[in-house]
């Protein structure tokens, strides 16, 4: 017997090890938060999902350098910008440093096709003469040193016009040649190549940024402040991991202490852990089989939800009695346990029906895990447990507790006032009922958000809420539409509806515009003649402008500039961030800053070109969340109906089903009502947590309802339930202390739920009357 038991134990551990190897070699953990967001349906929502993380605005890191005098900070800013411009992790770095080399020399002749000068002027004698006279004046002015070098190649100063055009409209104060905030920090904007909501890529980029800064001479005495969506992603990730770690540690210790106190047996503790371990590993193994990539959050939440499975071995351990083998105990318990397992699986099916990738994974994981844990509790664990066990029914105090509970008044009318109170609380609760704002779940410290808002304001960094979207068949059609938007948006800036804007056509005009400009460029003999005539009477050296004539000739005959060719220059990266191919069409995404009158801007955009529109990301995300919630509510409703049917069938009695389902339903609404009274708007995570709590509550009600006339068995039920309740309160009560809103929402809801479910299933259980009859 002993040998068989040892063999089984070894076999079980071997199976676990095998699953472990499968998981370790096959599991690919993803970090894209979007798989935990609802599936988009409208075009706006689809764009929003693409935007979350990938759009130009969400890839911006805002950097402030503080400490030391202005000169030191400016030189650090310049050094950092120089280092990051060479780093492939960053597509764009701006710090206010004037950079004529923005167009590399191979593309320099293209300035005549990029600059709007030729739209209104032509390089004839009159224009050139006027320009040259102005340059002569410039040479006699303080700007001389600045312009002297440009003069031979660029007498009409197209490079400066382009630089001006490409400089953000609202830029911070320039000191020592770089941007400074009003608090005297040197400012810098860096755009990462990686998506803003990809913690891995962002962590690497931020690490490289910090390393580049630390490597600069004199950076020791200075302080680097980083903010922006990418930085927040990294922060949240680290914070979530840290908190989950310490909460997990404390919960584990508490759980071990609880199990030891409840069963006074180390072997029970260790063996009791096997079904949950089996469930967890089986769940992950199933995920690796069903999905190419498993989300990190699925695993974190999944193990939390799988906590329910710990109830199965607890039930078995508590219901053992002197002289009865564990196998016999589990046989007596099994019908009820099976009902509990089936109903929990049905509750978790609601996640699957939500249609959200991450939640589907969660459902697959928990359902597989629950079944594996349940069946291993039934068919493997009893054969491992020692022959003899201590009957917990004899535990001191338990009988007294049971008597006290039985003595509590259990009026049959109790559900009525509770239901009335629930309705009243929900009706009169302060604040909005639903939490539609996804960002409200951002677990960021307030001062961090304040810093972000301050730097964003100072830098004139784009508004994260609004986005200008142009969709067309080809990249060139997007550029054409974008060009039409430019004058309209300029009007909006003048009308103060808007502070500034970016458009892809500002960097690269469409082909037709380029062609028209090219056509206006004179050929070499014509330009030579016009230049000679224009130079008459001016003191410039005759051959001085040969590079200018060469460049014009190059621009006149060169192939037109396409986004692909432009991509090789540093500016091309900026364009690539705004212009991208999506399936069979192209999308231009431009950022706006300081939107004061969204309606006016939206109207101006829509009237300029039918393919363009203003996207309100907040609105899109709220509509997305609302749609998401409707789906979850439907799924919950369906799951509830299924539950009623299952329970009624399992108990073969409407009356008994009522005794199980009524306290569960009432407690669920009571949690909702109490949270609403506390002013907490209900978010998706609350709904998920309510389902989990309902699953737990259902177990309590099922076991309390169990019709046994045996007071010892009732004490065992009470013992098991109390252990389960304390375990759940321990785990979820700890989560309720978390600073991360998602974890707090789940922790608080489940902890409250467990409490209410326990109390109501006792107060509404039919046992009391029967006990008194005996």
């Amino acid at each position: 017997m002993r040998g068989a038991r040892l063999g089984l134990l070894v076999a079980w551990i071997a199976v676990l090890a095998l699953l472990g190897v499968l998981v370790a070699t096959q599991l690919k953990v993803g970090t894209d938060l979007r798989s935990f967001m609802p599936a988009p349906t409208t075009p706006d929502q689809k764009l929003l999902m693409e935007q979350v993380g990938e759009g130009p605005g969400s890839r911006l890191l805002l950097v402030a350098i503080d400490g030391g005098d202005d000169a030191a900070k400016a030189s650090l800013s310049r050094g950092l910008a120089q280092a990051l411009r060479k780093d492939p992790a960053f597509t764009q770095v701006v710090n206010g440093d004037f950079d004529v080399g923005m167009l590399d020399s191979a593309l320099l002749p293209y300035r005549y096709l990029l600059s709007p000068t030729l739209d209104t002027e032509s390089f004839d004698e009159a224009y050139l003469a006027d320009q040259l006279q102005q340059r002569l004046d410039d040479l006699g002015s303080p700007a001389a040193t600045l312009l002297k070098g440009l003069l031979p190649r660029d007498p009409t100063l197209e490079t400066l016009k382009l630089a001006e055009r490409w400089t953000p409209v609202r830029s911070p104060e320039i000191r020592e040649g770089v941007w400074f905030s009003s608090r005297g920090e040197a400012l810098l904007l860096a755009q990462t190549r990686g998506a803003g909501f990809d913690p891995g890529a962002q962590e690497q980029a931020i690490g490289q940024l910090r390393a580049a800064f630390a490597a600069l001479p004199g950076s020791g005495g200075s302080h680097l402040t980083i903010t922006g969506p990418g930085y927040f992603t990294v922060m949240v990730n680290a914070q979530t991991r840290d908190e989950a770690d310490w909460i997990g540690r404390i919960s584990t210790i508490g759980f071990i202490v609880l199990m030891l106190a409840a069963y006074r047996s180390v072997s029970s503790l260790l063996l009791g852990a096997l079904p949950v371990a089996t469930g967890g590993l089986a769940g992950i193994a199933m995920l690796t089989v069903c999905f190419p990539e498993v989300h990190g959050i699925t695993l974190a939440f999944g193990f939390t939800l799988l906590g329910v499975a710990q109830e199965y071995p607890i039930r078995l351990l508590s219901h053992r009695r002197e002289g009865e083998s564990a196998v016999a105990s589990v046989r007596g318990l099994w019908p009820l346990l099976l009902t509990a397992i089936a109903s929990a699986c049905i509750a978790y099916l609601a996640f699957y029906a939500s249609g959200v990738g991450g939640l589907k994974q969660l459902a697959v994981f928990t359902i597989t895990g629950l079944l594996a844990a349940g069946f291993s509790t039934r068919y493997a664990l009893p054969y491992l447990l020692p022959e003899h066990a201590r009957d917990v029914a004899g535990m001191p105090g338990l009988a007294a507790f049971r008597t006290w509970l039985d003595a509590l008044p259990r009026p049959r009318w109790l559900p009525i006032p509770i239901a009335a109170a629930v309705v009243a609380m929900i009706a009169f609760a302060p604040g909005p009922f639903w939490q539609n704002d996804l960002s409200a779940l951002t677990p960021l410290p307030r001062d961090l958000l304040m810093t972000d808002a301050r730097l964003r304001g100072e830098l004139g960094a784009p508004d994260v809420r609004y986005l200008l979207v142009v969709q067309a068949k080809t990249a060139d059609a997007v550029l054409t539409a974008s060009a039409k938007l430019e004058p309209r948006l300029r009007e909006q800036v003048v009308a103060k509806a808007l502070d500034g804007f970016e458009l892809p056509s500002i960097y690269l005009p469409d082909l037709a515009t380029q062609r028209a400009r090219q056509a206006k460029l004179p050929d070499r003999p014509t330009l030579d003649a016009a230049l000679t005539a224009a130079l008459r009477g001016l003191p410039f050296r005759k051959d001085l402008f040969a590079p200018f004539v060469d460049d014009v000739e190059t621009a006149r005959t060169a192939p037109l500039l396409t986004p692909e060719m432009f991509a090789r220059s540093p500016l091309g990266q900026r364009l690539a961030a705004m212009l991208s191919a999506r399936g069979d069409h192209w999308v231009g995404l431009s950022t706006l800053s300081g939107v004061h009158d969204a309606a006016a801007v939206a109207a101006a955009v829509a009237s300029a070109d039918p393919s363009a529109r203003l996207l309100d990301l907040k609105e899109a995300s709220e509509s997305l969340v609302a749609a998401y919630r409707t789906r979850i509510l439907h799924a919950v409703l369906a799951a509830t109906l299924l539950l009623f049917v299952t329970i009624t069938l399992a108990l073969r009695s409407f009356r008994r089903a009522w005794h199980v389902l009524a306290p569960m339903t009432l407690a669920t609404f009571l949690v909702l009502a109490v949270e609403r009274m506390a002013g907490i708007p209900v978010s998706l995570f609350h709904l998920v947590a309510l389902i989990l709590a309902a699953g737990l509550g259902l177990h309590y009600a099922l076991f309390f309802e169990r019709d046994t006339g045996d007071p010892a068995e009732q004490r065992r039920t009470l013992h098991a339930t109390v252990v389960c309740v304390i375990a759940a309160l321990l785990v979820f009560g700890m989560l309720a202390w978390s600073s991360i809103p998602v974890l707090r929402a789940i922790g608080l809801t489940v902890a409250l739920g467990v409490g209410f479910h326990f109390c109501l299933s006792i107060l509404m259980a039919p046992h009391a009357r029967q006990d008194r009859l005996h």
Binding site: D137, P142, L146, P152, E176, F540, R541
Partner: protein
Amino acid sequence: MRVLDKPLVVSGELAWLGGDRLERRVESPTKEVSTIADGEVTQEREGKKPRSFSLKRAPQLQVLLDSFVALLAGDPSRLGQSFDVTLGRDADRWRLTLTPRDARIAKQIAGIHVYGTGQLARCMRMDESDGDTSIDLLGDLAAKMPAEPTREGLIAQCGGAM
């Protein structure tokens, strides 16, 4: 200037507005007012939008500003901060040679020579490192600007004040 065949002549007034602020008012050939204040250079021309840029982008101007302000304020310690100063004397006449200390600035400005008599500075010559020279004839010397000036002639005229 190397880019020009002949010297470029500009005339007008230069005013020190106190602190680090200079105003340069040009009367001919084109009316233009330039102000250097708070690290910014602002240029205003008739019928044109004002243009401004940071002083840091034109280190030559910063040097000019430093030397002018130090001279006008009679602040030898400030001159000493930015330049190696040598003084040559010949009876009443004097010559001050300023060489920038900062290597970055020295790349653009080879040196500044200020010529004067008694209490008055009469001419200022700035040699840029690329070979260009700018000469400011000050006070009554400005009236003696020849109609067809040459680079050599002007250098002699400026130095001739000594």
